[in-house]
């Protein structure tokens, strides 16, 4: 019997591994932001290396999963939906890596008054993504429970929006000493970090629709 399900066993293992990798990537991103804000340059460089490796691994795994789905004709009716979902998961690690590189390349100046705000923003945004991963794992086992798990994602996404808006308001209303270029630069970095939670929200939407589709 185990011979019959060998391919499926491998695929299940690969999907779990893929989700783990992306989850790890999000955690590394969060730590990377903390390192940058606290000025720990060597740790930040280390995080960039780690996230690059994780992103490469995730890409390889995604391609392998794609091949297995089509080669062994597994879930032919739902494969395209699952592929889109895996793409959305991949976007999370892709964007995380890009943002860390942007921090590394552009070295945005973050005033001390805003460090805590940025830390809270990164935390809330990553939390939205991190709440998505257990929901993704549950989707494969108990689709009906997914919707309940996604409530947290929407909450964190809204929190991130609020925090981002506060930072922008602070930048343009309460910090006259900063140059406009610096303000705009920081505004863009706020937007970058906010994107993680937006992508998590997109994934959550997709998951809830898919879960509903599977349970019918």
């Amino acid at each position: 019997m185990s011979v019959l399900f060998k391919n499926v066993k491998q695929l299940v293992f690969d999907i779990d591994n893929y989700i783990d990798t992306v989850e790890q990537g999000t955690l590394v991103f969060k730590e990377g932001i903390v390192n940058y804000l606290k000025g720990e340059k060597s740790s930040f460089a280390e995080k960039i290396d780690t996230i690059t490796q994780l992103e490469t691994r995730a890409d390889k795994l995604q391609r392998k999963i794609d091949n297995q789905f089509y080669h062994h004709s597994i879930l032919p009716q739902n494969v395209s939906d699952i592929e889109i979902m895996l793409d959305k998961i991949d976007e999370l690690i892709d964007i995380s890596k890009d943002i860390l590189y942007q921090f590394d390349d552009e070295l945005p100046f973050i005033p001390k008054e805003l460090v805590n705000d940025y830390l809270r923003l990164a935390d809330a945004s990553c939390e939205a993504a991190l709440t998505c991963f257990p929901a993704t794992r549950t989707f494969f086992r108990e689709p009906l429970k997914v919707r309940d798990m996604l409530v947290k994602v929407y909450f964190y996404e809204k929190e991130t929006d609020k925090l981002a808006r506060n930072i922008k308001r602070k930048l343009f209303h309460e910090m006259p000493d900063l140059r406009l270029s610096e303000k705009i630069h920081l505004r863009y970095f706020t937007l970058h970090i906010e994107t993680i939670s937006d992508k998590a929200e997109n994934l959550a939407d997709m998951l809830s629709i898919l879960a509903l589709k599977m349970s019918i």
Binding site: V8, I15, S73, P76, F139, F140, R141, F172, I216
Partner: protein, 616 residues
């Protein structure tokens, strides 16, 4: 060789059965690419043959009771007429079933050969046509509930579940193919079993009798139909007719297999009889109709909203139309085979049996006459022969009466033919009308979808444009605020500088230094009054508020330029102090100007000036 020729019509019927009915077993699995066609075809072929050889006798025996076709030519004609009926009605897209066609063709033979049709057997067969789909529906509902409960209780990974379903579809498909072979082989070879007798083949461990050999050949014909033509049916009709989820597909195929198995299992029937229950009628049932029954069962369980109830009407019409058409076709073809090709298509079995008895008796009389010795023992024989002669005369009378009956039958048949043609015409016309309506509906749907699509696209484009404009507006506003802030800061700085210069001037006694400080103070004052930044800012504000200004002027034509400037700055949510700095006037003047503006704009006491301007 001649046997093979006569068998060809049955083989054709088998081929068409394999080509069409295999889709009921593996259609969803292949159509949804869960199972490859190659695998499905191999499994279906093997199990159809096994089912036919091992368990095909039961249903065939019942068909034999309905009409025992004794000659090869008659069997060939009956099978051919059933096959042609299926072919013709399928082309006209009318509901048709092989099981019903063969029953109709046998009744047609009964009519032609003047053999009585056993009404009990016929009732038994017709009742299974109705009970088959109903039973399929019941099974499917029960199995569907069971599979749902299992899915909810167990936390199986989606991919493992898929594998189990895939494996299950293969197993259930094999069972379905076995049942299809066991039940439907009677349609293909049932009519030949009494006409052809083949020597038993002994393979040592198993022996295959004449009927089983015929069923083997029929099974192979079905398998050829599956391999050569069912792929097309599975990929087109199989999937479009029943777009089922894999779970539902397993349930439907299993229900169908169970129904077909029940109506062909002699062992099950015997077991029921042994515990005092009534025997199961072993009758060929239409697999397509059982599948439809099963799907309707699931549909009803789900609430019955998606069911197309007109399909039930089609099945019912199929029950009536198919046997009538097949019967008429068999009757006409038997007439031709009998009178044009001079082939023996069978006689009245009852009369034949009686004539045989009489002939036997007459021979006994002759023997008695030649060997008559006057012994008393021969008296009963003589008496018997007299009785037999009387019977012979009665028989002749019966034959002349049967001729009259034949004429009546011909008239009845003519009426049936006319009725059948009217029915077929009605079905064909209705089908044509439905197709036309469907075509019109699809065209309308397509057009509407296109329109909706283009409208949606336009809405999305507009929303996008609006969003971009909103973003741009926000950006410009931010830019203006930033600029205003920098002007304010610069002016504040210059004011402070001027104050400091005045302070220093009061402490300095040197004339030249005082003159220099005076010059500096004057320069600052000039810069404050002729501020280029402010002018530029004013320009941007005016440019941004073009529409707003226009609206303002239209409604309040008496507003001055200074008042309009104040309104523009208030729109940016700037405080009186900030506005004062930008306009190089005192904050008190700003407050006064605001008061005048409020009066001019006739703002209600409850509303603030800022809110009024923002909402304007």
């Amino acid at each position: 060789m001649i046997i093979l020729f006569y068998l060809s019509s049955g083989l054709f019927l088998g081929w068409s059965l394999g080509a069409n009915d295999a889709a009921n077993v593996f259609g969803t699995a292949v159509g949804s690419r869960m199972i490859r066609f190659k695998t499905a075809a191999i499994v279906a072929s093997i199990f159809v043959i096994l089912g036919a050889v091992i368990q095909g006798a039961g249903a065939s025996h019942t068909l034999g009771k309905l009409g025992s076709i004794s000659t090869l030519a008659a069997a060939f004609t009956v099978a051919l007429s059933a096959a042609l009926t299926v072919f013709w009605m399928t082309r006209l897209k009318l509901p048709v079933s092989t099981s019903q066609a063969i029953v109709g063709a046998i009744i047609g033979w009964n009519f032609y050969t003047n053999n009585p049709t056993d009404l009990n057997i016929l009732t038994k067969i017709v009742s299974t046509w109705v009970s088959g789909p109903i039973l399929g529906g019941i099974f499917s509902v029960l199995l569907f509930i069971l599979i749902r409960k299992v899915n909810q209780k167990t936390k199986i990974h989606l991919l493992y579940r898929h594998s189990y379903i895939k494996f299950g579809l293969l197993i259930v498909g094999a069972f379905g193919a076995y049942s299809l072979g066991a039940n439907n082989i009677a349609n293909v070879m049932g009519v030949f079993t009494t006409a052809i007798t083949l020597p038993t083949i002994d393979l040592g461990f198993v022996s295959i009798d004449s009927t089983q050999q015929l069923f083997l050949v029929g099974g192979i014909a079905i398998a050829v139909g599956i391999i050569t033509y069912s792929k097309h049916v599975m990929e087109t009709v199989g999937n479009t007719l029943m777009p089922l989820t894999p779970d539902a597909a397993i349930v439907v195929v299993l229900s169908q297999a169970l129904v077909l198995f029940i109506f062909s299992s002699q062992t099950l029937s015997n077991s029921l009889q042994s515990i005092g229950l009534p025997a199961i009628p072993l009758v060929p049932v239409s697999s397509s109709q059982v599948v439809i029954g099963s799907i309707i069962g699931i549909g009803l369980y789900k609430g019955g909203k998606e069911i197309k109830y007109n399909i039930l009407g089609s099945i019912s019409l199929g029950w009536i139309a198919t046997p009538i058409v097949a019967g008429i076709m068999a009757f006409i073809m038997l007439f031709f085979v009998n009178n044009v090709f001079k082939q023996n298509v069978g006689t009245n079995n009852l009369i034949e049996t009686k004539i045989k008895v009489v002939k036997g008796a007459a021979t006994t009389i002759n023997i008695s006459d030649s060997t008559y010795t006057g012994i008393n023992q021969t008296e009963p024989i003589v008496n018997d022969s007299i009785i037999n002669k009387e019977k012979l005369i009665t028989q002749r009378d019966t034959q002349s009466a049967s001729k009259t009956k034949l004429i009546i039958i011909w008239i009845e048949l003519l009426i049936i033919i006319i009725l059948a043609f009217i029915l077929i015409y009605y079905l064909w016309f209705r089908n044509k009308k439905t197709n036309k309506l469907k075509l019109e509906y699809n065209l309308f749907k397509e057009k509407t979808l296109l329109k909706v699509g283009s409208l949606k696209k336009r809405i999305v484009e507009k929303e996008l444009r609006q969003e971009n404009l909103g973003k741009e507006l926000k950006f410009r506003q931010n830019e203006m605020v930033t600029m205003a802030m920098s002007i304010i800061q610069k002016n504040e700085f210059l004011e402070n500088l001027k104050r400091e210069i005045i302070k220093i001037k009061s402490r300095v006694s040197d004339h030249e230094t005082r003159l220099g400080l005076n010059k500096l103070s004057l320069m600052i004052t000039q810069d404050l009054s002729i501020d280029r930044d402010r002018e530029r800012f004013q320009l941007i504000v005016n440019e941004q508020s073009n529409n707003f200004n226009q609206r303002l002027t239209d409604r309040f034509p008496k507003l001055t330029d200074n008042e309009k400037r104040l309104i523009a700055l208030l729109r940016l949510n700037l405080s009186s102090k900030e506005i004062a700095s930008i306009l190089n006037i005192s904050p008190k003047s700003v407050e006064m100007n605001r008061y005048r503006l409020r009066k001019k704009l006739q703002v209600e006491p409850k509303t603030t000036l800022n809110d009024f301007i923002r909402k304007f």
